[in-house]
Symmetry: C2
Subunit: 415 residues, 2 copies
């Protein structure tokens, strides 16, 4: 097995290919605006298809626009090993979020060709439709439809702010494919992605061995008090909704920290009514979310947070209405696939640590049907969903090499 460290992906070709893909929807600030199912997305997809076909891959497209580029294995009866990510971007996105996983997969294919390697199992490179969800309001749309989370007709009917439906947009760019959008048997799925967080960079780690996705619970909260004159209303008569909300914001932060460094608790969006300098606020609407890799922690939080928050609101003379929007179960990744990532990083001498994915990814849905693992690279300042999103060429190359090792090892494993 040690001979495999001689079989290297081409870091320069990888970086050039990343910069090449970044031309589609390039912004003046060095980012990418390549919204799903727009003409810019079409150009990016066409370019990707051309690169795949030039590498000898056979490309097929399913009914929700997911693209699959297949490299045959020696044994066509074996289930394929999948790798990939997404080529669509945020409105003010960067060059690497999603594109890294797809273009690194393309580099794996090129390297397999250059090295004359024939794997036992076929390998397929995937571009999932609309991972970001900025345009039609449903992130992980392509992988979610494939995985059976969403019905195709439902997704076809989703509309953007201009009233254009997914179906019309998909057909408009020529990517409503003939393949059914449903899970097919596959042996494994590996996704390389930037961390979109600060941990790997802070700890000087080159590779994140991703063990799974977090359990989450999301709420909409409304605190109702009574608006009144800031100068004439004495303390005893106040029902200040912002004071009530402030104490709940503090509670969310304390609950997060009580669960150690794995916990996440955030109030990200907040609106004050009437939001006027000399009016004691009568109403505050805000979002609350908790995340944790251990679903039991989320269950505990969901059982206790509402009552604690309600008590804080009442102590401020206000009333809390808390609406749970959804709960997402934790999604552990397949231990044997995660092991392949761990072993590859060790074999290659990369510093690595286990990490839970803090963000949603196509891998979370694919994992419901296919043994899955993810590989993280650091990103500068943990910044993503931002035109300044940035990684080093060496970091991209290291992630791609780990992807290569894991995919090849899995495709050649003894059944």
């Amino acid at each position: 097995m040690s001979g495999q460290t001689n079989r290297r992906i081409d870091g320069k070709r990888l970086w050039d290919s990343l910069m090449d893909m970044a031309r589609f929807g390039a912004t003046p600030k060095g980012g990418v605006k390549r919204l799903t199912l727009t003409d810019i997305d079409r150009q990016g997809r066409d370019h990707f298809r051309a690169r795949c076909e030039a590498a000898g891959l056979t490309v097929r497209v399913d009914a929700i626009g997911n693209m699959f580029a297949r490299r045959p294995g020696r044994d066509p009866a074996r289930l394929p090993v999948l790798m990939g990510s997404h080529l669509d971007s945020q409105p003010s996105g960067g060059k690497f979020d999603g594109a890294l996983g797809v273009i690194a997969g393309l580099e794996v294919m090129h390297s397999l060709n250059d090295l004359g390697i024939e794997t036992e199992a076929p390998i397929e490179l995937v571009n999932w439709t609309d991972e970001e969800g900025s345009r039609f309001g449903h992130s992980l749309m392509g992988s979610g439809t494939w995985a059976g989370i969403h019905a195709l007709d439902y997704v076809y009917g989703l509309k953007d702010v201009e009233g254009i439906s997914v179906k019309d947009a998909l057909e408009g760019i020529g990517y409503a494919g003939p393949e059914p959008a449903k899970p097919f048997p596959a042996d494994a799925y590996f996704e390389l992605h930037i961390e979109q967080g600060p941990i790997l960079e802070a700890e000087g780690k080159q590779i994140g061995i991703v063990t799974g996705g977090q359990a989450q619970v999301w709420y909409d909260a409304v605190v109702i008090g009574q608006d009144s004159h800031a100068g004439t209303t004495p303390p005893r008569a106040r029902r200040d909704a912002l004071v009530g909300a402030a104490r709940i914001i503090d509670l969310v932060d304390r609950l997060m920290r009580a669960r150690g460094e794995d916990g996440r608790g955030t109030v990200g969006e907040l609106h004050v009514i009437p939001n006027s300098r000399n009016v004691v606020p009568g109403e505050v609407r805000f979002s609350v979310e908790f995340r944790h890799p251990d679903p039991a922690e989320i269950e505990t939080l969901a059982a206790t947070f509402p009552a604690e928050a309600t008590a804080l609101a009442e102590a401020a003379g206000t009333r809390l209405t808390l609406k749970e929007l959804f709960r997402i179960p934790a999604q552990p990744f397949a231990p044997d696939c995660v092991d392949l990532v761990r072993q590859a990083a060790a074999r290659l001498g990369y510093s690595a640590r286990e990490i839970v994915s803090g963000a949603g990814h196509d891998a979370i849905f694919v994992a419901q049907h296919v043994p899955t693992a993810m590989i993280f690279t650091p990103c500068k300042d943990g910044l993503s969903h931002n035109e300044a999103e940035s990684i080093e060429p060496e970091e991209a190359a290291a992630g791609c090499q780990v992807l290569f090792e894991a995919v090849v090892a899995r495709a050649n494993r003894k059944l």
Copy 2:
């Protein structure tokens, strides 16, 4: 003196006159929209002038549009006793805020005529221009210019959102008067006004004996952290500006309550940036104000609040920038004028209590030059700056009767 309780203002005529004035700018919800220096304001002023002249008063107008309606006294050498308030309203205002003090003064004049009373000193009824400040951004504009707080040229140059200047608007409605807008010697000033707060109603008091205006300090606050992904950013890496701001909001409330029922501390306006559900907030901008009748309390607050708030921001990994916008000194009213109000309420058998004005009023500026007192009436639910603002006819009549007593006693006092 007890004979004076037989000399009564006409409660019905008062109420009819209030409803009559409320026709100018009447809204479907029963409120008033009579913005300063609009044509509706002109109609209200013309109506007021006509009523004054019909009551035998001589009306003069100064350069900022303040109107003075004079009833001669027996001794023209004596300084006049002033009474009044403002006829302009909020955009969604009520029928009583400001109009009560002016129309009640008109009722005082009518009653003096009906009762054949000649006072020693002249009496002048005042309509101050633009108390509300909604249109040109400067509340207490007319009284402030008269009192020398603002230079006339500066005020003339203020513009509304459509770019119309005060000067042009004033001249457009024909109320740029020939009298200089500057303080003239006067013996006293009495202003009747609704409380705009909940205290009198809650305690079942008919009359508020207003002892002065509060000291105030106003700030703009900005808490800066770092926006980051809500799912991928662990607790230790967070610099959550909303958590920092929330703790400062709680501090403001605690500091208010530590000072008993006379304190006021409010965060009324707040903006979160970027204000997105799954982004840890990087910046929060908000207003802070404190009020207290005792200026020493405001001095103490202004000395300690910045450091305490800064410490809270830093403990949350954020940075606070606090900008003091202004400090308003407490304005005690003249004890002998306040006494006249107290004695009148007692003589008339009205339940009364001393109260500090929580809102700004023209009287606060006039008091810098003229011995001043205010009389408050209750208002339903303490509601004001709202079309549903409401008082009972008996409450209006009681306030007007106290105004009558105090003005007549002052105008007839032995020098």
